[in-house]
């Protein structure tokens, strides 16, 4: 993006030392922070995380779920900076606690996606043969159904099958676990394909042959030779996957099959907002804006990471 050039090699007369070489991490960090969009994205993301975490100092979860129909659909005021919803809950408090759930769903669903995707990718790339054939067909099958439809069918399948959970002193509706599970289970296919193709080429590389010749076990070759070398695309896919998972949650919750109230998420706060679109635009503007901001900033960070982790991009950034 930015057209700054890389540090030119200093060839001054008085020094004949080699230019100081930088480690991969240092180089990637430097490139990342030179990426204008990545820095913007990171700052917005930090602001959103501060909003959902520091907000808990001012509001308790009980405030977020407290309803009083006598104060329903109140417009923006100093008492309710974001207004109130259809049953009189404070939208600012709900945005804070809803944001926590939305981000939690994004991160945990992606952890699952990375786990399943890497496992399947390594299995079919490294062992090949029957594994590759079977897993390849499963990936193909899952990719031939639009993700949203699969999510909706699975949301219906799991609905009510998981009871309420207590975690970190908060109670989560079982539907939160369901949503994490189904987003994780329906989004790993692309990642598995990326990992598989990487593993395929790494398996034939000389350092893997050398490790094999030295008698390293498959487990050791995979864990300490192949996986570290396929980390970069996984990190990028995972970052972009968080944005995808936040959007996926918003879609199913908007359609009424996602996280069930009283637990708030940015997605289910928008459900039913259309009925009040003219009278109470604050119902959808604030949660909607938060979804868009977090998705854009995560996408920015993902793009920045892609450029920063690409060893060939040094001349460009």
């Amino acid at each position: 993006m930015a057209s700054t050039t890389a540090n030119p090699i200093q060839l001054s007369a008085k020094s004949n030392e080699l230019p100081k070489s930088q480690g991969l991490l240092a180089r990637s960090t430097r490139r990342f922070f030179k990426h204008r969009m990545a820095v913007t994205g990171t700052s917005i993301l930090v602001a959103i995380i501060l909003f959902v975490s520091l907000g808990t100092v001012f509001f308790s979860e009980a405030d977020a779920n407290f309803n009083d129909t006598s104060r329903r659909l109140l417009p923006i005021s100093s008492e309710h900076p974001f207004g109130t919803d259809t049953i009189g809950r404070d939208i600012l408090a709900r945005s804070i606690y809803g944001g926590q759930i939305s981000l939690l769903i994004g991160i945990t669903a992606v952890t699952m996606m990375v786990g399943v995707g890497t496992f399947v990718g390594v299995l079919s790339g490294y062992y090949g043969g029957i594994w590759d054939a079977v897993l390849g067909r499963i990936i193909e099958a899952m990719l031939s159904i639009p993700q949203l439809l699969l999510l909706l069918v699975m949301a219906r399948f799991f609905a009510g099958k998981i009871p309420q959970q207590e975690l970190f002193g908060r109670s989560f509706s079982g539907s939160v676990i369901v949503i994490i599970l189904i987003i994780g289970l329906t989004s790993w296919m692309q990642l598995a394909r990326i990992v598989r193709s990487n593993v395929l080429s790494l398996r034939e590389s000389e350092f893997v042959s050398a490790a094999k010749a030295l008698g390293a076990s498959d487990r050791r070759i995979i864990m300490s030779h192949i996986l570290p070398n396929t980390l970069a695309p996984v990190i990028v896919a995972a970052t972009l996957g968080i944005a995808g998972a936040i959007l996926a949650e918003a879609y199913i919750s908007f359609l009424g099959l996602g996280v069930q109230p009283p637990t708030a998420t940015w997605g289910n706060m928008l459900e039913g907002a259309k009925q009040y679109i003219g009278e109470a635009p604050w119902l959808w503007i604030f949660p909607g804006l938060l979804i868009v901001l977090s998705v854009i900033s995560i996408n920015f960070v993902g793009d920045g990471l892609r450029d920063a982790l690409d060893p060939r991009s040094d001349s460009k950034v």
Partner: protein, 343 residues
């Protein structure tokens, strides 16, 4: 080539069966169709039991799948519950074109679905056509004038639109072009349904009701396509053969359309071909917001009522459409780039 197409088609047959089995098991374990049959549900336990038998819900799941797939007109069903089959089955099964009967409307599932296909197609084809044309214009313009003020504006606009969930875009359009326009006394657009029932389903009515949903779907697609066209055009423009063409004195216009665009369109074909699932997802949400009587809304409505016959029919049509569109993409590829050969 013909061989390749035939082989791909043959390979996709087991795929479709596999997908249908998984979806059938998921759908049949999701909710009780009897619980959602409206007011018609008999409260007596033995009546419920009889209804289950009539609908075939008393059978093991794999038997139900078999009946759904190949029909049950070759077995004697036990409808009175005495353990002996006495009634001949009537279902013909999916492979003979019988998708079963909807538990909601009591009509054949295919009839329910086909009445909606046209409505969705009107919406999708218009939106997709518009999106491709506008995205091409934006993408080529941006590539020609890289880093100009307009290019920067268009690029950031598409970046933002790309991150907006489609339902939010729909809500924003409704808020601006229906609610606010009405408040300002400007002509405003209708926000639900396909036509005004008082006027009837005329061409004019349908077109005016289409404006907002089509814009919603098109904007999302434009955002993705135009960014993509811009980057592939830039890549092509900076390639050697374009420089050669220029140095030979060929006019800019000819270079653009004949040399650059044809090569840049190759990745676009993949993108459009692979966008079908996204388009269908967009249809589900958009049709729900705008109360458009299409397949997407049918899907949500009948999913909530566990209408297995209709949902399975819809999912099968969509799965086959996605597989075919992937095959089509590959075929168009060879046509656009003769270097690609499938064997």
């Amino acid at each position: 080539m013909t061989q390749y197409i035939l082989r791909r088609l043959l390979q996709s047959i087991p795929l479709v069966f596999f997908v249908s089995l998984i979806l059938f098991i998921l759908m049949n374990s999701a909710g009780d169709p009897l619980a959602t049959m409206g007011g018609r549900i008999p409260p007596r336990a033995e009546d419920r039991q009889r209804l289950r038998r009539q609908l075939g819900l008393d059978q093991p799941i794999l038997t139900q799948y078999l009946y759904w797939l190949v029909g049950n007109d070759w077995v004697m069903l036990d409808l009175d519950g005495d353990g002996e089959g006495e009634t001949e089955g009537t279902r013909k099964g999916v492979i003979r074109g019988d998708f079963g009967t909807s538990v909601v409307t009591r009509q054949p599932a295919m009839e329910v679905i086909s009445s909606r296909i046209e409505n969705t197609m009107i919406l999708m084809l218009t939106a997709e056509g518009l999106a491709i044309i506008i995205a091409l214009a934006i993408g080529i313009y941006s590539a020609m004038r890289q880093y100009s003020a307009i290019d920067n504006l268009l690029t950031s606009f598409s970046f933002i639109t790309f991150s907006v969930p489609i339902f939010l875009l729909g809500l924003i359009l409704i808020y601006v072009f229906a609610v606010q326009f009405k408040a300002w006394g400007l002509p405003h657009f209708p926000t639900s349904g396909m036509y005004d029932p008082l006027v009837g389903k005329t061409f004019q009515q349908v077109s005016i009701h289409m404006v907002l949903p089509v814009t919603t779907i098109a904007l999302i697609s434009i955002a993705g396509y135009s960014r993509f066209i811009r980057s592939t055009m830039l890549e092509v423009i900076n390639s050697d053969y374009i420089r050669t063409a220029r140095s030979k004195g060929i006019s800019e216009r000819r270079i653009l359309y004949l040399h650059a665009f044809k090569n840049a369109s190759l990745p676009l074909v993949t993108l459009i071909g692979l966008n079908l699932p996204g388009l269908i997802a967009g249809a589900v949400v958009t049709e729900t917001i705008f109360a458009w009587p299409g397949m997407g809304r049918l899907f949500i409505d009948h999913l909530l009522r566990s209408d297995v016959a209709v949902i399975m029919g819809l999912l099968m049509i969509i799965t086959v459409a996605v597989i075919l569109s992937q095959l089509m993409t590959d075929i168009v590829y060879t046509w656009l780039d003769p270097r690609i050969r499938y064997s």
